[in-house]
């Protein structure tokens, strides 16, 4: 019997039962882990599978969040319609970025710079867009409910946890399917050697655009979640490059191009962050910024000793 499905089943059961086992704080941390696992998975489609480095993925989170948030804020239209609009807008945006880059053969570092540029000028654009609140932010009306209102995506933290769990599980399943589909094999061929893939008759332009579109669509959904979970959006925060870095850190640490990598990376990073806080509090070190130093040292160690990420090494060790 293969170990991977067993491991997956145990993990799924644990995550479903988690709210029964832990308190509210742990649940909010778990929601955060799942959020980063999901967005990391979305980014992984573009970089891990198709080899296109995006450093501006926050643009899709932001546009998705603002699209659904604006519909709700101005017209009272719930997030289900909002998510459709968010996906449509982000796919269109991704296709524009992809078209410009791939048509003019912008690749590697220059492609990464282009994605940052788009995120930046979108941020500046939203800063000047009064309809979405401009720099003062957009605040969605919050209704505190103990019951689950799925139509308006309003409810207790438990609802958001399960919603994020469903999204992360869905993204995992989708990526597993994609990786074994024709698209997945074409993307991996493009990632390894684009010229060789072209020589084999793969329309690299089209398949790269597909990767960008799927990645953008998935990230847009994360944006809608973000809008309705936090209920406030500021261009300065949501489009900031640090948000893009947060998205990519999970898969980079966990293992780029792997299915478990983004999940493991997000878990390790979030728990590490909170673990260091706890450890420092336990020893009574209240030095501002010391946590970031420890965090940086640990990340450095992972990158130095496990350059392909944690998951490939762990999978080898567990013989998965």
């Amino acid at each position: 019997m293969k170990r991977s499905p067993v491991l997956l089943a145990v993990l799924a059961a644990l995550l479903v039962l988690l709210p029964l086992l832990v308190g509210n704080y742990a649940l909010s941390v778990a929601t955060l882990i799942l959020y980063f696992a999901y967005t990391g998975q979305a980014w992984n489609v573009m970089m891990g599978f198709a080899g296109q480095l995006s450093l501006g993925h926050a643009v899709y989170v932001g546009v998705g969040a603002y699209a659904a948030g604006s519909l709700f804020f101005h017209y009272g239209i719930g997030p289900w319609a909002g998510v459709c609009l968010a996906i449509a807008l982000c796919v269109a945006l991704g296709l524009v970025i992809g078209f410009l880059a791939f048509r003019f053969r912008i690749s590697g570092v220059y492609f990464a710079l282009l994605t940052i540029a788009f995120a930046e000028f979108t941020r500046i654009g939203f800063d000047h867009l009064d309809w979405t609140g401009g720099p003062g932010g957009m605040f969605l009306r919050v209704a505190q409910r103990d019951t689950w209102d799925l139509a308006n995506f309003r409810g207790p933290p438990l609802m958001y946890y399960y919603a994020m769990l469903a999204l992360a599980a869905g993204a995992f399943a989708l990526c597993a399917w994609l990786l074994r589909s024709r698209a997945g094999y074409y993307w991996q061929a493009i990632r390894e050697d684009e010229e060789a893939a072209q020589a084999l008759g793969i329309n690299t332009f089209r398949w790269k655009l597909l990767a960008v579109a799927i990645s953008a669509a998935m990230t847009a959904v994360a944006g809608v979640f973000f809008a309705f979970y936090y209920n406030n959006l500021f261009p300065e925060q949501i489009f900031h490059i640090s948000r893009s870095i947060e998205i990519i850190l999970g898969p980079v640490i966990g293992g780029v191009g792997t299915l478990f990598g983004p999940v493991l990376g997000a878990t390790v990073l979030t728990l590490l962050s909170d673990g260091i806080t706890e450890a420092l509090a336990a020893v009574g070190w209240e030095i501002p910024g010391i946590k970031q130093v420890f965090y940086g040292v640990v990340l450095l160690a992972v990158v130095m000793f496990l350059p392909n990420g944690i998951w490939p090494a762990l999978a080898r060790r567990l013989r998965l």
């Binding site: 509210n24 909010s28 800063d127 505190q144 261009p235």
Partner: protein, 408 residues
């Protein structure tokens, strides 16, 4: 009822009666646990640490004032809104009776949702987005001006400055940092300035600049060529320093530099870096009353905790953080309970007349917002930010037009 059942029931009643005093003792908490959630690291770290100084001194000052014991539970949200949310959850789980913080509107909005969901009172020390108290929350309170109030008070103080110094500047050149804050301020100024009839000046040019600018030669040159009477400035710290140096370099000497409500020119680094060139810059900001009795007490405690530091450089941050904890402690004293709902009801009934910051007594309106918080016209005099207006709080007279930098 048989004898055995009777005996058992009596035993239960007897045990309950014997234990009841302990139960009462538990309900009447002796200590208020205050979760102080601030950005002590990250890009807001400097301000978060400044706020923390106000929290640290609150323990002994409040104990002396109200006889209330407070336990601080400090949390650093690392200038990250996700972390702010989880830290708030953590503090509540660890038993915080009330939350205080966090200096940032995005983080405040995130914490507010957690506080409301868990039914724990949250007193905002500093965060200006008006929407936070427009959500119909029952456990969220703010003792700070909204963004609109900051601009309104800042502009009104400019009028008072002109009146107090018998000056009538006719023109101004408006320079602002081109970031979220700068643009929000610009919108507020553009909306309010035309209706301020007591302000006789006309803005002849508006110049924006990058917050990360390393050189402002062109911008200052353009502003100088506008030949305006004074400079109306919305800045942050680093750009304010660069701009002031450039003004000296280009020998531009307007009647003065006046900020209608931005940080930068009253901060310690501004004085340390510019020395005498920092003199006479004016900032109209929410501030503390240097003449208030409570200020003297806080100042003494501040000196004890930070012997090498000066309260005046942390006035806004430490002052409003201290007051947020004071509000919680005052409510706890009246409520005699840490029950969140009772505590929130007590906060709603707050009426603190002896306060440190300027303005009306601390009273919350139905939305949980304190109205009538005042601003001060703070002018840099003798290398210290000094309150020059309003008159009843002033410790020096305003100087306007300002003398040339060579005479400073």
């Amino acid at each position: 009822m048989d004898r055995r059942t009777f005996n058992r029931n009596m035993a239960v009643i007897g045990t309950a009666a014997a234990l009841s005093p302990f139960g009462i003792a538990r309900a009447q908490a002796q200590k208020l646990k205050v979760g102080v959630i601030l950005p002590r690291s990250g890009y807001l770290g400097f301000i978060g640490q400044s706020c923390q100084k106000g929290a640290d001194l609150a323990l002994e000052v409040i104990k002396e004032m109200l006889g209330v014991d407070i336990e601080l539970m400090n949390a650093d949200f690392e200038s990250n809104v996700d972390t702010a949310r989880t830290r708030a959850e953590r503090l509540i789980q660890e038993g915080a009776n009330v939350l205080v913080g966090p200096f940032d509107s995005g983080a405040a909005a995130a914490i507010a949702q957690v506080a409301e969901q868990r039914g724990v009172p949250f007193v905002i020390n500093i965060a200006a987005a008006p929407q936070i108290t427009e959500q119909g929350y029952k456990f969220v309170f703010r003792n700070f001006q909204t963004a609109g109030d900051i601009v309104r008070n800042g502009l009104d103080l400019i009028g008072e400055l002109f009146q107090a110094t018998n000056t009538v500047p006719r023109t101004a050149v408006y320079m602002h940092v081109n970031d979220t804050f700068g643009q929000a301020m610009t919108k507020g100024i553009s909306a309010m300035l035309p209706s301020r009839t007591q302000l006789p000046f006309k803005v002849v040019d508006t110049i924006s600049y990058d917050p990360a600018a390393k050189d402002l030669t062109v911008e200052v040159s353009k502003a100088k060529s506008a030949n305006a009477d004074f400079l109306l400035l919305v800045c942050r710290l680093n750009d304010a320093i660069i701009l002031r140096r450039e003004m000296v370099k280009q020998r531009w000497q307007p009647m003065g530099i006046v900020s209608p409500g931005s940080p930068g020119m009253y901060e310690e680094q501004y004085f340390k870096t510019l020395g005498k060139l920092s003199e006479y810059s004016i900032s109209n900001v929410p501030w503390y009353n240097p003449k208030a009795k409570l200020t003297q007490v806080v100042e003494k405690a501040f000196k004890k905790h930070n012997p090498k530091d000066n309260l005046v450089f942390h006035g806004l941050n430490a002052g409003f953080t201290f007051e947020a904890i004071l509000i919680a402690a005052d409510a706890f004293k009246r409520a005699k309970s840490t029950d969140p709902k009772t505590l929130a009801d007590a906060i709603r009934q707050t009426n603190i007349t002896e306060k440190m910051t300027l303005g009306a007594p601390i009273k919350f309106n139905a939305k949980g917002q304190v109205e009538g918080i005042g601003s001060a016209c703070v002018q840099n005099l003798n290398l210290l930010p000094t309150v020059v207006l309003p008159k009843d709080a002033a410790t020096a007279k305003p100087v306007f037009p300002v003398p040339g930098y060579k005479k400073a």
